[in-house]
Amino acid sequence: MGSALPLGDPAPADGRLPEGTSELSHGHPFGVYVHVPFCRVRCGYCDFNTYTSSELRGAKQVDYSGQAILEVEFAARVLAESQIAPRPVSTVFFGGGTPTLLPTHQLIEMLRAVDDAWGLATGVEVTTEANPDSVDARYLADLAAAGFTRVSFGMQSAVPHVLQTLDRTHDPERVPQVVGWARDAGLQVSLDLIYGTPGETLDDWSRSVDSALAMAPDHLSAYALIVEQGTKLARQIRSGVYPEPDDDLEADMYELVDARLDAAGYEWYEVSNWSRASVAADSGAAPGSSAGPRPDALTGPATPATEFRSRHNLAYWQGHDWWGIGPGAHSHIGGTRWWNVKHPAAYADRILAGVSPAAGRETPGADSREIERVLLLARIRSGLTIDSLAPEARREVAGLIADELINAKAAFAGSIELTLRGRLLADAVVRRLT
């Protein structure tokens, strides 16, 4: 199911990390990702590692949290045996699939297991993804009471024909309702939108953006639809049911969402992510926020402020450490990346046998690590400092300013900040900087 895993080196059965991981890991915050590989239906565009009940070959949802907890315990042992200094967990993210297909007690048990294994840091960010039609007020309140701080709803669009093309089953009218419940429960709310769906017009997109803004979310992600090989949507485009995606229209859509969000007081902080500006702790919490003092993910523990950006996602881009629990989940600790076997049944077999569920891994060399660093940080607003670049890459900076791809003022102040045009051409910028 879904996209293929990368090719890598074989991973050892005991999960032991290579020599030197400990040094590279030193000083980085630590996060945990928990993959929940279940969906009621598979959406036509989705290539994530997820399974409907008919595809599970005997793996059962009710057993899942137990297996995930076994991997958490396994992870704690591997890190200790690999001499990685123990750190409390800064962020936990439940993604999928549809994590909210599981009953709350399963999600809560898994969070407890993470706490038991490493401890949760002060101000920990705990997010779950949710489908608007898989949660109710009670469900969300239970999660918040158990320590969840954030929910990310897969809204995708407010326009019925677009949702239909995407195979999304929820009723767009329901989204404001679930957002209200989440807010009542004290959870931060993020909305995910998708643009560039075949048949979606600029007007359709404008309606979706306005609908999202009307709900005043704390955070918003807008992703251009990627037609992944092997998906139903890819087949439909190949056979002419839908047209090929139009890059120019998608550029118009990106410009539209950026302008609307900017006007509404949101700031972009990554090419596809916007948040309300962070608020100092003493100026009062934003509406709907279960605000507490939190360390700033970018600068480490400093000014206590209410952070609306996704610190968990920032950790991916900043090269921090995280352990991915569950089938097909990817992990990164101190320069080594690995990925678990994809099918829930194969995963269960490994976990129950006490064997590492990793299917493969790699420890990229210094050159590749530098490429990853630049390609990830360049996408973050002022995430990449010019000082940290290799001399050849620094020589590109003037040209990037001249081509209006990066902001001149930020560059003079020492960091790479993509312009609007630069965000749309971010891959080209990265190619010039690597």
Partner: protein
């Protein structure tokens, strides 16, 4: 029925009266090589066991395409009425590009077998060679081949042949090279009707070179026809055009493997090996004499091979450039007509400007370079030689559009040819349309037999080298055949059209065309490139221009989006690998100003692949 000759005549001491020198004139697939094979077998020079199809065609390409590029001569014994004769069969090249070589082969013979496919009739190329043979006063033996084919219509084509060369249709011999039927009668007829060679045995030696081939082990093997006198081993010989001298290391006849002899005497056909390594030192058409007792007058008809068609050859992988040079250096040893010099192109990198006798020559050389030397090549559009006179009376010879002078031009002259096209009469209309579109003027037309027509056109060679033959073939379902010969030059309203990417000319696409066609060429190329060049971060104008005047314009709009929307934990490895791949791809891009163009785009634009794809 003749028996095989019991005893062979010895070279160097054969009475010229017992020698018959002949060639076979035939169109590409009319079965010449198969007939030659049968003759080798029936006369016993090749045993049945050693026989392999198309024995004389040595190169793979020749055997695969069924055409003969280089000629060779074979000596075969044949007995008639109790007397043994020596038959020299000179295999002639079969294509328009090699007309000069054909003419030398014909000059070495006293007779020719005119071989025509009994299912297809005579073709333009064969007609042209037939005229050459008649010009050389050769005795012609008309023969219909492939009479075993169900589609054969020998009565019809016998009448056609009789109409062409005179004589009676019943006298046209009918053979099958495949089954051997009629081949013995044909050999008898060669002895009976072709005159014996004449020459002065006591005069200073004169031998005409009708072929010169390079052999990796033995150096150049020179094929000669003795006219006067005698050549012997260890003798010092002299080439009359260059006065260069060489020692004869080996002399002999092919039957068909090289067989050394005590020499070659009047009327004989054989080979010489002097140890030289370059065919340029032993050129087709030159006269060989002895150093000790040289002849004073060379045999007539010698001319330097003159390239007519030029094209740039570039390795697709730039690092193959030294290999291409080496390969050309090697091919040159066996091909006196191939000329080349280094050339650089913005679009294509380092390559060679090569001169060829014609389009087939170009095609054969390119194919040999690719096949025998493992090179991947791209050839620029073929060009001819233009003589450009500027307003200040300077004359410039242009074989490459990039040499076309800027500034005011007083006149441009272009090479002209007389083209003969032979086709079934139903296609006359479409052929006329094509030729008129190519600036041809009709010089006359005549029926060949009852249902085929030969059209004569005066046309610029430049129009023929540019895919004319492809169009002719497709308009006539492959039935038309073409021959052409140079007939001088004409002044024409020719201009150079440049193709500019963001204001920078892309040399590989500049072309010299007639002013009336400049716009069409400009539109064709700008549209093609628009389809092939990927979008850049800025708008890229593509223009066609004559000098400073823009005649056609397209533009590639700026790429606005080049970013992967998502990049989370599981995407990072994939994204990095994608980026590394993109950067690798970027290294193979050619830069035209700031525009990055994949080499494949240039190649596709040159080969016209875009239109072909559209048709599918």
């Amino acid at each position: 029925m003749s028996p095989r000759a019991v005893q062979q005549l010895q070279p160097a001491s054969t009475d010229p009266a017992l020698i018959r020198n002949f060639c076979i004139i035939a169109h590409i697939d009319h079965g010449k090589s198969t007939l030659a094979d049968r003759m080798l077998q029936i006369t016993g020079v090749v045993s049945d066991r050693d026989m392999r199809a198309q024995y004389l065609d040595r190169m793979d390409i020749e055997r695969e395409r069924g055409i003969t590029i280089k000629s060779q001569a074979v000596r075969m014994p044949w007995a008639l009425d109790g007397q043994t004769y020596a038959l020299n069969m000179i295999d002639t090249p079969g294509h328009v590009d090699f007309t000069y070589e054909v003419s030398r082969s014909l000059a070495a013979c006293e007779g020719a077998i005119l071989l025509v496919d009994a299912a297809q009739g005579i073709e333009a190329q064969t007609l042209a060679n037939l005229y050459l043979a008649l010009d050389n006063d050769l005795t012609i033996i008309p023969v219909l081949n492939k009479i075993d084919l169900p589609a054969a219509d020998p009565d019809k084509y016998a009448a056609e042949l009789a109409g062409l060369i005179g004589g009676k249709a019943e006298d046209v011999l009918r053979v099958s090279g495949k089954t051997g039927m009629g081949v013995e009668e044909l050999l008898d007829l060669v002895v009976a009707s072709i005159p014996a060679p004449k020459g002065d045995a006591d005069a200073p030696a004169r031998a005409m070179i009708f072929d010169s081939v390079y052999d990796a082990y033995r150096g150049v093997v020179t094929y000669v026809r003795m006219i006067d006198g005698k050549l012997t081993p260890r003798e010092k010989i002299m080439m009359m055009s260059t006065k260069s001298t060489h020692e004869v290391l080996e002399i002999g006849v092919s039957s068909p493997e090289p067989t050394p002899s005590k020499g070659l005497a009047v009327g004989e056909v054989g080979y010489l090996i002097t140890g030289v390594k370059d065919v340029r030192l032993s050129k087709v058409g030159d006269t060989v004499t002895t150093f000790a007792k040289p002849a004073t007058v060379a045999l007539k008809g010698y001319s330097e091979p003159k390239p007519m068609v030029f094209s740039g050859l570039y390795p697709i992988d730039g690092s193959d450039y030294p290999n291409l040079r080496e390969a050309l250096d090697k091919l040159k040893l066996s091909d006196a007509a191939l000329v080349y010099e280094p050339e650089t192109s913005v679009a294509l990198g380092f390559g060679f400007r090569c001169g060829f006798l014609g389009l087939l020559h170009l095609e054969i050389i390119t194919e040999r370079l690719e096949r025998e030397f493992g090179l991947d090549l791209i050839a620029t559009a073929p060009s001819v030689i233009y003589e450009v006179t500027t307003d200040d009376k300077k004359s410039v010879t242009v074989t490459n559009p990039s040499e076309f002078p800027g500034g005011k031009i007083a006149s441009v002259s272009e090479p002209m040819v007389k083209a003969s096209i032979l086709a079934p009469k139903d296609y006359v209309g479409t052929i006329m349309e094509l030729c008129q579109g190519r600036r041809g003027t009709l010089d006359g037309m005549e029926y060949v037999g009852t249902d085929r027509v030969e059209l004569h056109y005066k046309m610029p060679l430049g129009e023929i080298v540019f895919d004319f033959f492809d169009h002719l073939k497709s308009r006539t379902q492959g039935y038309a055949s073409l021959d052409y010969e140079p007939i001088g030059e004409q002044v024409a309203d020719l201009v150079k059209v440049d193709i500019l990417l963001q204001g920078e000319a892309v040399d590989a696409f500049s072309a010299i065309v007639h002013r009336e066609k400049a716009y069409a060429y400009g539109v064709l190329m700008t549209e093609r490139l628009k389809k092939l060049i990927p979008r850049q971060q800025f708008e890229v104008p593509i223009q066609a221009a004559i000098g400073a005047r823009i005649i056609a314009r397209e533009s590639i709009s700026a790429m606005r989006k080049d970013v992967l929307a998502k990049c989370y934990g599981g995407d990072i490895t994939r994204k990095r690998k994608l980026l590394e791949k993109q950067k690798e791809g970027k290294k193979r891009m050619k830069m035209v100003g700031r525009v990055e163009v994949p080499q494949e785009a240039f190649i596709a634009a040159l080969s016209g692949d875009t239109e072909t794809k559209d048709k599918k």
